[in-house]
């Protein structure tokens, strides 16, 4: 019913959405972008930490120097030196600040107005705020003579260097990712072309293309997989050809002597034999026909199985018309046999398939219903939209344990084993093989009473 995409349609879709190579290109670009972002983050952190460490170190060195000055020069010398240092403006603009205070916290020297919350008794260090905005790192300490000294260095301006790094990573990274993507695209494109070539050879199924593929001798992975696949396909074709040849020969070698035998029986019959002899001859000819029918059914089953999934020789079949025609064909036979045959056929149900074979599924199911129904039973055929065909009767039905076995070759129902029903037990096996060839399933549904066969498209 056209639910499935045609193979050609699927191949066209594959080019963009499902191509391995498009995915590899995208993935490698994304991965390199993520890696670059990580590297950037690490660099940013390292720069920040390095700056903070050198700031701390600078404060400590400065403080140690001032402590030495106090030890050697005393309070006045220290105040003078602090004033000297305050007068000096460093080139990077990161100024130093000082506060020398007495025990009460009153300023002795330095530029800071009040003592920040750092404890000089333990030489505490930490961030302090100079004025309103400026951040600085400071350390405090106690000096002999009940003095306290605080040294604070403003943090140098970090924004310029960090933005430079960001620029380098941003621009450089974009170029890098683009290069990776281009490379992946180019490499993938080549591989894709080769894979497309291999696929085209498989799809065309052309013997020459296959032999060429199977014979390639370069050594990379794609050639290898193509070679293996081509060989497998060639083996498959050889098997198909051998199967075909064998089955044709079997058919020919059995049918030819049978037809000679049949011709002899026909001649014997033409000679006006005694009625009893004639009856035997007629029966013998009937058995020849039955033997031929069995042979054909077996070969048909094998052929249907071998052709599973192949669309060769299929056309749009009007299932509604076919079902109606076959039901009408069986109507009189049902009346004669005392069965109530009824049908309910949805209009315009169609399916891609082989009409002669699809018709065979229905006739085999009807033959089966005629054979195993109870006297005066009913047989109902229903065709529903979506190619769902069911044939149900209200005869003795099929035991749950037998519901799969009925499709085995040479299976015959209990009443057939009693010898009153003709047939080799191949009808349902053949019906199922034909169904599977068409992507349909044929199953026995649980039902009470009677047997209920359901033909429906395979799920999924």
């Amino acid at each position: 019913m056209g639910h499935r995409l045609s193979p050609a349609r699927r191949d066209a879709d594959l080019t963009v959405r499902h191509s391995i190579f498009a995915r590899i290109t995208l993935l490698s670009a994304a991965l390199s972008a993520v890696l670059l972002c990580g590297l950037w983050w690490v660099t940013d952190r390292t720069i920040n930490e390095t700056i903070a460490a050198s700031l701390r170190e600078g404060v400590d060195v400065d403080l140690a120097g001032l402590v030495d000055i106090h030890a050697s020069g005393g309070r006045e010398e220290l105040s003078r030196r602090i004033a000297d240092r305050l007068a000096l403006v460093p080139s990077d603009g990161a100024r130093a600040h000082y506060l020398l205070a007495d025990a009460t916290g009153a300023r002795v020297a330095g530029d800071l107005a009040e003592w920040p919350g750092l404890d000089p008794a333990v030489s505490e260090s930490g961030p302090v705020r100079i004025g309103r905005q400026t951040e600085a790192h400071a350390r405090a300490t106690l000096l002999p003579g009940n003095l306290r000294l605080l040294v604070a260095h403003e943090a140098p301006e970090r924004a310029p260097i960090l933005s430079r790094v960001a620029l380098v990573f941003g621009l450089g990274g974009a170029v890098f990712v683009a290069c990776i993507a281009l490379f992946a695209q180019a490499a993938g494109g080549r591989v894709r072309q080769r894979v497309a070539g291999v696929n085209a050879a498989f799809r065309s199924g052309d013997d020459q293309a296959l032999s060429a593929l199977a014979a390639t001798d370069s050594a990379d992975e794609i050639d290898d997989i193509a070679r293996q696949a081509a060989r497998a396909l060639q083996r498959d074709r050889q098997l198909m050809a051998a199967y075909r040849e064998t089955s044709e020969q079997v058919a020919h070698e059995i049918r030819t002597p049978l037809s000679h035998l049949d011709a002899r029986l026909a001649k014997a019959l033409a000679d006006d034999p005694a009625p009893a002899t004639a009856a035997h001859l007629v029966a013998a000819r009937g058995e020849i026909r039955q033997l031929v029918g069995t042979l054909e059914a077996l070969l048909d089953i094998a052929a249907s199985k071998a052709k599973q999934g192949q669309r060769q020789g299929m056309a749009l079949v009007d299932l509604s018309a076919m079902t109606a025609r076959i039901c009408e064909l069986y109507e009189d036979s049902a009346e004669d046999a005392g069965y109530a045959l009824s049908w309910d056929i949805a209009p315009d149900v169609s399916l891609m398939g082989d009409e002669a074979q699809l018709g065979r599924i229905l006739t085999n199911l009807l033959d089966n219903a005629f054979k195993y129904n109870r006297p005066g039973g009913a047989i109902r055929v229903v065709l529903a939209p979506g190619s769902r065909l069911s044939v149900a009767d209200n005869g003795p039905g099929i035991a749950a344990s037998e519901r799969e076995r009925v499709f085995e070759r040479f299976w015959r129902g209990p009443s057939a084993q009693a010898g009153d029903q003709a047939g080799a037990g191949l009808g349902l096996a053949l019906a199922r093989a034909i169904a599977e060839r068409h992507g349909l399933t044929l199953r026995v549904m649980p039902s009470e009473p009677g047997a209920h066969f359901m033909l429906a498209p395979e799920e999924g």
Binding site: A251, H252, T256, L261, A263, V292, L329, S333, E355, A356
Partner: protein, 227 residues
């Protein structure tokens, strides 16, 4: 009828000659595929019977070559390969009919007569007359001795097929193929029952039989005139 039989099996060829003689037909045998092809091109035959598997050639390609060279003589392909797919291949190659071995002589001759009839261009008109029977194809009505026969649509189709092959043997396989579009004979006796119904409608209230069962697998429409 003059029939060319291309067959490499000498026994089958001899049997066929004898059968043809019994039926009043001339059967010319060629055991070699290419010689058969040449002969089919040079002489006029009513029907060609071709075996599908010849020693030196494949019957399918022979038919295709025959058609390519412009010979339109009807071809019945005879083969030990009798499955649906085999038939389809034969018809696709250009054969007009396909019969599997072993076959009933009756079946074969009914088929080649039908082929010959079709090929000699006896196109059926809107009204087919045969003996006491009338079949109005367009109006879809049937009469016997000017009395209307009330047939269901499918009985009419069956009747029309008999009228188109009036006086000739029509086999069960031909009916299945041409009336019901089926290439195999179901186990249920559908054809016999359908013919039985038609026979009752054609004979009820009239003098004399209308349909004759030909021994084996065939039927023949009689002219239905009172005895």
């Amino acid at each position: 009828m003059k029939v060319l039989y291309i067959e490499d099996d000498a026994r089958a060829a001899a049997d066929m000659r004898a059968l043809g003689w019994e039926q009043g037909d001339t059967i010319e045998v060629e055991s070699d595929g290419l010689a058969g092809l040449r002969r089919a091109g040079m002489e006029a035959f009513d029907v060609i019977i071709m075996d599908r598997m010849l020693g030196d050639a494949d019957g399918l390609s022979l038919v295709a070559r025959l058609r390519d060279s412009g010979v339109s003589t009807p071809v019945l392909m005879l083969s030990a390969l009798g499955r649906t797919g085999d038939r389809a291949e034969g018809l696709e190659a250009g054969a007009d009919d396909y019969l599997a071995k072993p076959f009933e002589a009756l079946e074969l001759f009914a088929r080649i007569r039908a082929l010959h009839r079709r090929a000699s261009g006896r196109e059926h008109s809107a009204v087919i007359l045969y003996g006491a029977f009338e079949c109005h194809v367009k109006a879809r009505t049937a009469f016997r001795s000017n009395q209307h026969l009330s047939l269901s649509p499918r009985e009419f189709e069956l009747f029309r097929y008999f009228m188109e092959n009036a006086g000739e043997v029509v086999t069960r396989e031909m009916l299945l193929r041409d009336v019901w579009n089926m290439s195999f004979d179901p186990q249920t006796n559908v054809v016999d029952v359908n013919i039985g119904r038609l026979r009752r409608k054609l004979e009820h209230g009239f003098d004399g039989p209308a349909l004759e069962t030909v021994w084996g697998t065939g039927y023949r429409l009689l002219d239905g005139t009172p005895i």
